[in-house]
């Protein structure tokens, strides 16, 4: 199996590694870098538990190869908190009970971050459409919608 040297910026930090061609980005993050906040729920791009931002765009890291991230910027849940302060999206999920088992939560929050970056004042329909590629089995989505609205309001108030 061919090996490739890749350079990826992960949560602002430059990382270099030698990886197999077939190594998935999610395994690179979880097993090579031990950033286990990004979860695996289906391996087939349906559930969104593995969502990370690649150059700011949400991708399902179970169907992106690590080599495809070479030279690019990856953001994961571990990079959301800054200087000991939760990101507004994290704070929103905390305040509005937007999580239960916590398994879909990192992917759900990364998708929400991307939404708010492009649309700071989303409607409920905008939010539901944005997170429709992220499955949650616990919350019934109502409080996730509220969490994103909470985050949007907080970000706008800043």
């Amino acid at each position: 199996m061919a090996k490739h040297t890749i350079k990826v910026t992960v949560n602002g930090e430059g990382r270099q590694a030698e990886v197999e061609s077939r190594l998935l980005l999610v395994h690179f993050l979880r097993e090579n870098l031990r950033l286990t906040g990004t979860h695996i729920g289906c391996d087939t791009t349906h559930c969104g538990a593995c969502t990370v931002l690649l150059d700011g765009v949400p991708v399902k890291s179970c169907t992106v190869l690590a080599v495809q991230a070479d030279g690019r910027d990856v953001a994961t849940v571990e990079g959301l908190e800054k200087d000991g302060k939760l990101h507004p999206v994290q704070e929103g999920f905390y305040q509005e009970h937007g999580l239960q088992c916590g398994y879909c939560t990192p992917g759900m929050m990364m998708t929400s971050c991307a939404l708010l970056a492009s649309n700071p004042d989303p409607t409920e329909a905008d939010i539901r459409r944005a997170i429709s590629g992220n499955l949650c089995r616990c919350t019934g989505y109502v409080n996730i919608v509220k969490s994103v609205q909470h985050a949007a309001a907080a970000a706008r108030a800043r």
Partner: protein
Amino acid sequence: MATPRTSPEVGGMGHSIKRKEDPRFLRGKGNYVDDIQLPGMLHMDIVRSPFAHAKIVKIDSSKALKVPGVLAVITGETLAQYKLHWMPTLMSDTQMVLPTEKVMYQAQEVAAVIATDRYAAADGVEAVEVEYDPLPVVVDPFKALEPGAPVLRTDKPGKKDNRIFHWEAGDRQATEKALSASDVVVRQDIYLPRIHVASIETCGIVADFDRIRGKLTVYMTTQAPHAIRTVIALVAGHVGLSEEKIRVVSPDIGGGFGGKVPVYPGYVIAIAASVVIGKPVKWVEDRMENLQADSFARDYHITAAIGAKKDGTMTALQIKTVADHGYADAAANPSKFPAGLFSICTGSYRLPTAFAEVDGVYTNKPPGGIAYRCSFRVTEAVHAIERMTDVLAQELKMDPADLRMKNFIQPGEFPYKSALGWEYDSGNYPAALKKAMDIVGYAELRREQAEKRKRGELMGIGISSFTEIVGAGPSKHFDILGIKMFDSCELRVHPTGKATARFGTKSQGQGHETTYAQVIAEELGIPAAHVEVEEGDTDTAPYGLGTYASRSTPVGAAAGAVAARKVREKAKKIAAHLLEVSEDDLVWEPGKFSVKGAPQKSTTIQDIAFAAYTNHPQGMEAGLEAVDYYDPPNLTFPFGSYICVVDIDRGTGEIKVRRFVAVDDCGNIINPMIVDGQIHGGLTMGLAPALFEEIHYDESGNIQGGSFMDYLLPTAMETPKWETDKTITPSPHHPLGAKGVGESATVGAPPAIANAVVDALSHLGVKHIDIPITPEKVWKIMKEKGVAE
């Protein structure tokens, strides 16, 4: 109990305090099984059968063993050397771990590959060559019961048919007599298809056997770690695993819903591999394995009849069910209840006479019969009675709300003994339905519907007034493999007045670290913020049967409350010593004892805790702790009324849930925010099987829909904005008056939705549609009735 007794700072019952588990989850610092990486850890992957029924002619591992990184291929023959190729199910049936002769369902485990990483293990799986000789497949449970059907369980000596069990409750003759004496009798076949809980985290294990200490540590996605430890000790005792040397850790669990109660073959193979190789072995199934091979739920073929007088008074209920359990009965029901608590099927109604029977059947499908976020077949029972109530209303030309109101068990009739033998603890069914009707604006909706019908538009209103039966259970009747269904709390109050509480249950997202802390806060006045809750580690937590069937609040939280009261009893003796008065002169309010008539003379729980270690009365044991193994005197009976409003697109058959009002009554509430969240989630898991989810098999036993491509979980787009409200009718026998809530909505929602869709089409003569009610089914009906656009 609407008003909290404690201050927000203490955070006892009734406060919506933020969850203590969230800070780690929000930062990606949860610790799920697949996050565990141990030094030298190996990975396991599984070879699965493409056939639903076949003889295994040959397994050739030679090519697999040449794959770089592959260390071993484990087959049934390997396990047979250790007599580990079969295991018991939780229903005292037997199930193969790995086969030595034949496979019994598609996706059955055939061999396991152990390798240095997960990619090499997958390569190894591809390289294992298995030769099969296909056998006749039995998919239809009715055909399986026919004389002359191939007998599937040839491993069972003397087994001559495919029947697993026959179970019945009630009076057969009296019910038949009552039905024939009824003015009206309606009959309906109702099928509840095979579905899968599909928690977003799949199942997995890291088995770590330490050869020097002889200790096995198992990190496992399990809802019942203590029971699993005992099962491991019983199954593998003969190879040297002894219960005190087995530690089962259930770390953070990414959703359970019943799917993480059973023992799956993958767990056992990974444990065996770790013991033999002496290194940690990880196995985490992928989504397709999860959907195709893990225990399923439901698959109940129901035939029901309900009788009534002309005025709508219900007279009798008769239900016959064929239950497809797949190749093995791997449900997780209490021993005495092979059909679970299906006999709650008389529901919320005064039904003087009833009879229910269930026949369990073997077929060539994966083993199971577990719950899907419900207490032991309660969803099946509720769906049957709530659908039948609507079928009856339609026959009588009565409004379904009026029919329900007429037949409800009345508030003054509790405790109510049902015709099938349950003693309902408490309820106020008319109040819940009335509240739901007021919120939704029922009368106005009926007017709107009438107008829309004139215009040819299809709109339906569906009601479900369900009664659950949860919190197993009294140990007199309830056990799993003989282990009684109590649960436990060990509470330690430390010298500085902070506490650690350990429980025998295991949260999978329900928020026990928060709600159990609130229970202790309620009882002792120690702020919930200073109560550390621990669960899921058999080395530290007291023995308990785990979390499923909504039993954590009815049993676990009750154990917490009683343990706290035991602590309070001792605290009272210490307080009397500190205040130099008699115990009889003390009054308790959350957090402190004071002297009757002299409230300024008081001592706090924190002062008492310190004294328990520094200044305890002579002759008294030091310390301030207690253990309680709580054995509930009865089950609890949460209830509610749901109203669903749907609009149907005549062009596509698409069903739009316009509104859904859920009024729930789970007795006294520990954390309103968490209760609301549980109901939102439960409603969505009720919507799912009502409209989307089904696992179907073709005649050859091939699964149709074993991935998220075909098995449709509701997304945020399909899920409506749930409207929730509540009534509060405390349980009279629970120490906190609570009943449990995690599954109410999953149980109550499907018939509300099904009833709404049927209601939208009822004027066309439609009486019933089996769930999932897909656009295709609706469109076909509309086409047949000439209303499709």
